[in-house]
């Protein structure tokens, strides 16, 4: 088991390193941030001096090595725009993103799993078709459209919830639903198909014949057996939610790292872009790792095979 874990850790490290190279290369391709940072009223000579002061005159490989050697020591550089350490800036905006992603995943799991189970128990009925239809729309509808529609309905027309910003629990509702919308649909459909598969298996049929109550079959035997699949899907969705918050955060003016990322990319603040992507890839690798550990806990087959 230890060697298995070490192997996973090694892969994770390679993955983060790869991401850092790609991001560094891309930010270098976008072009010169100096034009974005300085007003037009600056001469070419002064532009060059500014470039040198930021260390951007060095070749990309040297720049990358400097970045990497500092990153290993926990120094992700200083934001050009906010003039504060990148790590501090990102960490200050991180709780908002985590809060939103967790709220969205809780919404997605509760609504997605319950509708999925309902669909699987009564396949082919009106309820099932309704759930299938709504979840199809949920997967197809773009986030920005869902967000604006929710705002128009719940904030402008009904005046029930705030439109934008982060001020208490009520302001979390709409962004969480918007962000969790897609995942809810995915989880719902996956729960349904996995559940149907389990309900069709021999041991469940055996229990039915034995006369086990339906309640016990569904909530004890079936649910337990779809859990491994669900853990995989939920962890994948959580990663999507943490990374996919860019649009939702922009619509709802939610002060998380998604918005910081898009804003930094637009204003030439590349250290922040690099910092956020690096930290996110670390986080994803971590979630992946925890998911692996969860398999051990849930599935005795994996435990015994290793």
């Amino acid at each position: 088991m230890l060697s298995y874990l070490l192997g996973r850790l090694w892969h994770a490290l390679l993955c983060v390193l790869g991401v850092s190279v790609i991001v560094f290369a891309i930010t270098n391709l976008i072009g010169d941030p100096v034009n974005l940072l300085l007003p037009p009223e600056v001469s070419s000579a002064d532009r060059q001096a500014y470039r040198e002061a930021l260390g951007l005159d060095r070749d990309p490989v040297t720049q990358y090595l400097i970045f990497l050697s500092k990153a290993v020591q926990g120094d992700l550089g200083v934001s050009y725009r906010f003039n504060v350490p990148v790590l501090e800036l990102v960490l200050s905006r991180f709780p908002a993103t985590v809060e939103l992603a967790l709220a969205a995943i809780v919404f997605a799991v509760l609504v997605g799993m319950s509708t999925g189970i309902v669909s699987a128990i009564w396949p082919g009925t009106l309820v099932d078709r309704l759930v299938q239809g709504v979840s199809l729309v949920g997967m197809a509808a773009p986030t920005f459209w869902v967000g604006i529609m929710l705002i128009l309905l719940f904030s402008v027309q009904l005046q029930l919830l705030p439109t934008a910003g982060r001020s208490g629990w009520s302001s979390l509702v709409l962004p969480a639903i918007t962000l969790g919308w897609y995942s809810t649909a995915v989880i719902s459909r996956m729960t349904r198909s996995t559940m149907l598969e389990v309900l069709d298996s021999d041991y469940i049929r055996m229990s039915v014949l034995k006369g086990t109550p339906r309640r016990v079959i569904i909530f004890k035997h079936s649910l337990k057996n779809i859990l491994t699949t669900m853990v995989t899907i939920v962890s994948l969705q959580l990663v999507v939610l943490l990374a996919g918050a860019v649009i939702t955060e922009t619509i709802f003016a939610w002060p998380g790292i998604g918005r910081l990322l898009i804003q930094s990319a637009g204003s030439g603040d590349y250290p922040v872009v690099q910092g956020i992507t690096l930290l996110c890839s670390l986080l994803f690798v971590l979630i992946d790792f925890v998911t692996d550990l969860l398999y051990f806990a849930i599935d005795p087959r994996i435990r015994h095979n290793l």
């Binding site: 974005l36 037009p40 402008v156 439109t163 910003g165 982060r166």
Partner: protein, 508 residues
């Protein structure tokens, strides 16, 4: 008596004195919340070049000369200035008893320290180029600051009012650069209360201000990037002003209850920049082609159709809200027949093909406008090969990539055409792709002209030359659209986008 107690007593007695003095003002009450699409970077006034910083700076800090709420240039931390006859020595008499937000008194030392820091290359001040003319700042006596210039600079006071902010030295040195950016202190009408990046900035009335004590107590900027969401926040009453709304939303703002639509000239000129500097066989190096392109665009139709009337057509580079253009200079009319005739004379009887670069997301409706321009030129047989780039890529490539034509803006900074001329027109400028020795010479001469009337006349002369040479396709001065609560009394000065809020108040 402990030190703290003495300080408290002192503060109380000064507050009492301020209240009792005949010039006592009404106590600021109420709150204004403004929804803005983006926000300042660092709050250090010497480290940032972002237009949201300029608004923040204008309310928080003061310079020797400042722009008041009518955007007039008036003495700020200085009481008066004496300019030597050679125009190289500016002697400022400092205003006495000016206090910073922490209650400390502003001294000549603070002024010198701030200006030295602003011009020191080690500061990495993106605005330093505005103070380039400064050679030395000296304290002649505790009430007098003498600024020596390397060369005459006719717009020097205007530049001070834009980039010459004064900060308290003692406070800055005790908290350091990072600490200062976290909790900035100035002497302006508003003082800093709190900030959360990408969320809000809260300011509070500075009741110690000698003359511009704000009428409202709290000023809150909320960053809301989505246009439709800013509008929804205004509609539901959670903000009082929604700025930078796209013109197509004008009618929806007007339809809202208790809200007025305000259309505000920005002082920015929009034009199509020709690259006549480099590029061989480039048709736009020919005068007749440039003139034909000016005649060949139906600018009024674009203003009406795309911008919903939110722009004022211009004849040249000067925009009405900053420098009065020569009234006898008329814009190129829309005349496709004339355009075709000129093209034929230039050797293109069957029209021509030309590349035009445009940004997406940099200026209001930039993509739509670039498309409309290309479409309009089709009418005179000009086939525009439109290259649209995402904003940061477009700017990043500027100066590296060859753009024969590009749709651009040149914004107002110091309420003087100098920036535009030196940095947008002059051959040496980074953002300029135009070259004309006669114009360059006149621009160089403008540096020495301090008198406003003479300056305006001089720039009008340059403007006429540019117009005649069709240096650009001259389009318009833009306006921004805002939704403002009916009950809010607030009128920003034309051309001023560094909104000042100390005169704003709520109707009873």
């Amino acid at each position: 008596m402990s030190f703290r107690l003495t300080a408290k007593l002192l503060l109380r007695s000064t507050l009492l004195l301020a209240l009792l003095s005949p010039a006592a003002y009404a106590v600021p009450t109420g709150k204004i919340t403004i929804a803005v699409p983006s926000e300042p970077g660092t709050l250090d006034p010497m480290r940032s070049n972002n237009r949201y910083n300029h608004t923040f700076n204008a309310n928080m800090f003061e310079a020797l000369f400042v722009r008041d709420s009518r955007a007039e240039l008036v003495p700020g931390l200085a009481e008066s200035v004496n300019i030597s006859s050679d125009g190289l020595t500016y002697t400022f008499k400092l205003r006495r008893g000016v206090r910073f937000h922490d209650g400390s008194t502003m001294t000549a030392d603070d002024v010198k320290f701030s200006m030295d820091r602003a011009t020191n290359p080690a500061t990495k001040n993106p605005m330093a180029s505005f103070l380039k003319a400064i050679e030395r700042v000296d304290i002649a006596n505790p009430d007098t600051i003498v600024v020596k210039l390397k060369e005459r600079d006719g717009a020097f006071l205007k530049k001070l009012a834009f980039a010459g902010w004064v900060i308290p030295r003692r406070y800055f040195e005790s908290v350091g650069e990072e600490g200062f950016a976290r909790r900035p202190i100035g002497s302006g009408p508003f003082k800093f209360k709190s900030r959360s990046i990408n969320e809000f900035i809260e300011l509070e009335a500075n009741e110690l201000h000698r003359s511009n004590v704000p009428k409202v107590k709290d000023l809150v900027y909320r960053t809301i990037p989505e246009d439709a969401v800013r509008l929804a926040e205004l509609q539901t009453g959670r903000v009082d002003i929604a700025t930078e709304m796209p013109p197509p939303l004008m009618e929806r703002i007007e339809a809202l209850k208790d809200v007025k639509a305000v259309s505000h000239p920005t002082g920015a000129v929009y034009w199509v920049v020709f690259n006549v500097k480099d590029g061989k066989d480039n048709p736009v190096t020919k005068l007749k082609v440039r003139q034909a392109l000016n005649y060949g665009i139906d600018k009024q139709a674009i203003i009406k159709g795309v911008l919903r009337g939110q722009a004022t057509q211009v004849a040249g580079a000067l925009v009405p809200s900053i420098t009065p253009p020569d009234p006898t200079l008329k814009p190129y009319p829309y005349d496709p027949a004339m355009a075709r005739k000129l093209l034929a004379e230039a050797g293109y009887p069957n029209g021509l093909k030309v590349e035009m670069y445009g940004s997406v997301g940099r200026y209001t409706l930039d993509r739509d406008i670039s498309l409309a321009i290309a479409n309009s030129l089709k009418g005179i047989g000009v086939d525009v090969d439109l290259k649209l780039w995402e904003s940061s890529k477009w700017v990043g490539d500027l100066g590296k990539k060859y753009y024969p034509m590009s749709y651009q803006e040149f914004g107002n900074t110091i309420f003087d055409p100098e920036g535009l001329m030196i940095f947008g027109v002059h051959t040496k400028a980074f953002w300029s792709f135009y070259t004309n020795p006669q114009v360059d010479k006149l621009i160089d001469e403008s540096m020495a002209i301090i008198d406003t009337k003479q300056r305006n006349a001089h720039f009008q002369k340059i403007d006429r030359l540019l117009h005649e040479d069709a240096s650009h396709i001259f389009l318009w001065e833009s306006k921004i659209v805002m939704g403002v609560k009916d009950k809010l009394n607030w009128t920003p000065a034309p051309g001023d986008t560094w909104f000042k809020f100390w005169d704003a108040s709520w109707q009873k």
